[in-house]
């Protein structure tokens, strides 16, 4: 991406390099959210529904992990995937896959912790009725996730927000390689260090616009679903 254009210019010119960056940003953050959802929602729900010694500790830990510093996560994954690290043989360092892994690690606790809270609030209402129906743990989790699905959208969006905005981790494990692992956020960081603040801000606005669009989409689906469910 050449520094000489304004962001608007880039959008209009249809600079393929630019669109490649946008595409990669979306792929990385959306896949991260997808994986984080598949892991985090059931885990959060299960935590909300099961009593066991040390549950409070786990909850606190989970809440705390919403504050995992990107740079630290980035470094940890970096050392893991590094050639001289345990998973070095996979050769994933400085690839988009590595970025997805890093973001998944960061987003999962957010989605899990928020899910736990939402499900627990609904659980207060359902507990006795489900217990009386002798509903087993698995179906219980499934039921509460399903019945809380509209509220859970917000949790997923919080996770997506974190993933879309995140730069610290992916720049370490991805390397911000031009045309390969460069995303909107890493590009913004680069333009900033080049001192091209207008372009950086411009790209930022483009990114925010995209994030808004995706949120709008998600909300539309949610409302439609709600209306249909009556």
């Amino acid at each position: 991406m050449t520094g000489d254009g304004t962001a608007l210019h880039l959008v209009l010119s249809g600079d393929p390099a630019f669109y490649a960056i946008v595409r990669l940003s979306l792929i990385v953050s959306l896949s991260a959210v997808l994986f984080a959802t598949l892991i985090g929602v059931p885990v959060g729900a299960a935590l909300a529904l099961t009593r066991f010694p040390g549950r409070t500790a786990v909850t606190v830990l989970l809440n705390a992990m919403m504050g995992l510093p990107p740079v630290v996560v980035g470094l940890a994954i970096f050392l893991l995937l590094s050639r001289s690290g345990p998973l070095g043989s996979w050769g994933l360092l400085f690839t988009p896959q590595a970025m997805v892994i890093a973001q998944t690690v960061m987003v999962t606790p957010i989605i899990a912790a928020l899910t736990r809270q939402t499900v627990e609030d609904l659980w207060a209402e359902y507990r006795e009725e489900l217990a009386a129906m002798g509903v087993g743990p698995v179906r219980r989790v499934a039921t509460l996730i399903w019945d809380a699905r509209f509220s859970l959208v917000t949790a997923l969006l919080a996770g997506f927000g974190r993933a879309a905005a995140e730069v610290g981790a992916i720049i370490i494990v991805g390397g911000n390689i031009d045309g390969f692992t460069r995303t909107m956020t890493t590009a913004i960081a680069l333009e900033t260090s080049k001192g091209d603040l207008p372009l950086a801000i411009g790209l930022g606005l483009v990114l925010i616009t995209i994030v808004i669009a995706i949120n709008g989409l998600a909300w539309g689906v949610r409302l439609a679903g709600e209306r249909y469910a009556g």
């Binding site: 129906m133 179906r139 009556g230």
Partner: protein
């Protein structure tokens, strides 16, 4: 998936339930054995709902013990309860019944038929598609009964099952209760309608302030109550 052994009789031995400083049930000893419906009566706050929740196994005694067919902590496979304020799952009326059937592992093939059958039984056949939470108070109470019957329980606990039902529905439900009791299902229900108690009860248990004041066969209880409290309560006077 039903356990072979039976849940009956349910035996409470010196059962006390306390919540913090409050004693909700106070040293209750009673046996719920097969036979005609056992009807719990007593003023508001006397402990009827709590007693039913204990019998369902939803709260375990602070002191004392409860056994089902002689065993402790038996999962509620053969028991069902209709709460005083049933919670409607975020599904259609039919969906709620179907859910109960699934939870009870009723054979998949038969479910749709059972759903229709149960809705008809409680007079909601025409409301199957309606979101359960939009149902009227009485309709919700009927749906809750349908959900409970879906479990084909051996012990059925009903907490003021006709409190918000219209006269005709009340009759209908009373008939249902008689019918299933005749089929050998043990019914334990609470009510504030003494007429209803007279009509349905095999045994009566009078609760007051968490204590079991008097219990025994219905005729005897209404004919010559043994305690002052019983006489006062039957007369519809305030128990103090």
């Amino acid at each position: 998936m039903r356990a072979p052994a039976t849940d009956l009789p349910v035996t409470l031995a010196d059962v006390t339930i306390a919540a913090g400083a409050v004693t909700i049930l106070d040293d209750i000893t009673m046996t719920i054995s097969p036979g005609g419906p056992t009807v719990l009566i007593g003023p508001n706050g006397s402990g009827k709902t709590t007693l039913l929740r204990v019998a369902m196994g939803l709260v375990s005694p602070t002191r004392g013990r409860i056994t089902w067919g002689g065993r402790e902590a038996v999962p509620p496979v053969k028991r069902a309860i209709v709460f005083q304020r049933p919670t409607m799952l975020r599904r259609s009326a039919a969906g709620n019944v179907r859910y109960a059937l699934a939870a009870a592992n009723a054979p998949r093939a038969t479910r749709d038929a059972r759903v229709a059958e149960l809705l008809a039984l409680v007079g909601l056949a025409h409301l199957g598609h309606r979101p359960a939470r939009r149902l009227s108070g009485g309709e919700q109470q009927r749906l809750a009964l349908a959900r409970a019957l879906a479990r084909e329980p051996e012990l059925l606990l009903l907490d003021e099952p006709t409190a918000s039902l219209d006269p005709a529905a009340t009759k209908a439900i009373e008939d249902i209760v008689r019918a299933i009791a005749a089929r050998g299902v043990k019914v334990v229900m609470s009510t504030h309608d003494l007429g209803q108690a007279r009509r349905l009860a095999g045994d009566i248990a009078l609760l007051h302030r968490g204590r079991l004041i008097e219990a025994g066969p219905a005729e005897a209880f209404f004919a010559q109550p043994q305690t002052q409290e019983a006489r006062t309560f039957i007369a519809g006077e305030l128990l103090v």
